[in-house]
Amino acid sequence: MATDNELMERVKQGDLNQLDAIYQKYSRILLAFFYRLTFNASVSEDLVHNVFIRILKYRDNYHGDGQFSTWLFHLAHNVRNDHYRKNRFARMTDNNVQALEIADDQNPASVFETNERAAILKGALEELSLEQREVLILSRYHGLKYREIADILKCSENTVKARNFRAIEKLRHVYRRLETSHEQETV
């Protein structure tokens, strides 16, 4: 099975069919990345497309040194930047909790609690700066190390560490405040 670097080299040489394998592997990963930044499913799908447009546009710039995923997430980071700069229409998040879907074998109380926690976390994440949220998502949800995140964001490793710490610190405070006010509302 070809590695990601090998697939991308073939795309660079003009075999665009190889991009399909990259799309199959990474489209949902990128979708998750954008969704956790924007909380908007439709906008996230559009941003995934923008990443693949850039892969095609900049394929000649691909050198194959380092991990392909680092290059890919760097493109995603730039797409995110451009999106927030240009698209005033898309600066929205899906702030409303979706209708609960409870399967027959599920405990309604635990489903409700899960949705409550998700709603609290979304509220807390929205209070982070975009840079802090991005670092938190890449480390916590994509399991990346700080060295790789620094390569993606083109900043120092210490900057990445500082952003992640401050994100967690802020979450800690905001989480407590939201939980407290949420408990008061439900009493």
Partner: protein
């Protein structure tokens, strides 16, 4: 250990990047500074315990749009190869031996002939009509260029055409119709967004307003749906209410988009 070092060590710990021997040293340092040695574990519990934030499954059009954008890129590549100077290119085919210098000389020659003809022609016209003729000619040339570029397989060229239209005054019905078709049918969502903005600036034209209303239901992209809804709200276009009602009935409509469209509808009625 200062505050910055504390932050960096904590960040390393929560992300599992602190070796075990340094962890013991770190906790000991916290203890000696009067801080809770269990603080790193508390932060890590919060970090690890963050809700997974389930991601919704993508809609059916995500994969379709991907295939469309790859196909468009292929078409653009073929077009660029055809118009290139190299092997297989049209220019290379017709002027294999002469290349750039010949083409430059031919272009300059044609310009000179055109200038001479133009000079003779204008000498036959009364002075007052020359400026308006010239302006009409420029407008006509611009129209030809815009129409050609809007039909270009390259998304870059089509985007340029829409931007040129934004900056051009006195667009005629043909160009407006072409822009409305671009809004409805261009496969590139960014081009459709810019077309919507361009047409918003022409909304004093009843045909444009009607076209914007009709386009609302034709769009699959939520970004364009929202852009059109906002434009029609800014115009106070009550004809948009019925298409909005039909759009809101769609089962595949994103929940967040639905809420936003409902608000627009409420403000229009």
């Amino acid at each position: 250990m200062n505050k910055k070092q504390f932050e960096l060590r904590m960040a390393e710990y929560v992300n599992g990047e602190m070796p075990a021997d340094r962890e013991a040293e770190f906790r000991d340092l916290l203890r000696r500074r009067g801080l809770d040695p269990d603080l790193p574990s508390e932060y890590k519990r919060l970090f690890d315990g963050l809700d997974p934030l389930d991601v919704p499954e993508p809609g059916p059009w995500m994969d379709r749009e991907y295939r469309a954008l790859v196909e468009e890129y292929r078409t653009d590549l073929r077009r660029r190869k055809w118009t290139s100077d190299g092997p297989g290119g049209r220019r290379g085919l017709f002027f294999p031996a002469f290349g750039r210098p010949f083409r430059l000389a031919a272009t300059l020659g044609l310009l000179l002939v055109g200038a001479l003809i133009g000079s003779w022609w204008t000498s036959l016209r009364p002075p007052g009509g020359r400026m308006s003729d010239l302006l009409a000619e420029v407008r006509g040339m611009k129209k030809t260029v815009i129409m050609a570029m809007l039909n270009n397989p390259s998304a870059t060229e089509r985007m340029k055409a829409v931007r040129i239209s934004q900056e051009t005054e006195g667009l005629d019905d043909d160009v407006i119709q072409a822009l409305l078709e671009t809004l409805d049918y261009d496969p590139n969502v960014n081009i459709r967004l810019v077309a919507a903005e361009t047409l918003a600036g022409l909304a004093q034209n009843p045909a444009v307003r009607q076209g914007l209303v009709v386009s609302l239901e034709r769009q699959e992209s939520p970004l364009v749906q929202l852009a059109l809804a906002d434009i029609l709200l800014a115009l106070g276009e009550k004809q948009a209410v019925s298409p909005l009602d039909r759009l809101l009935q769609r089962k595949d409509l994103d929940y967040g988009i639905k809420l936003r469209l409902e608000k627009v509808r409420q403000r229009l009625i």
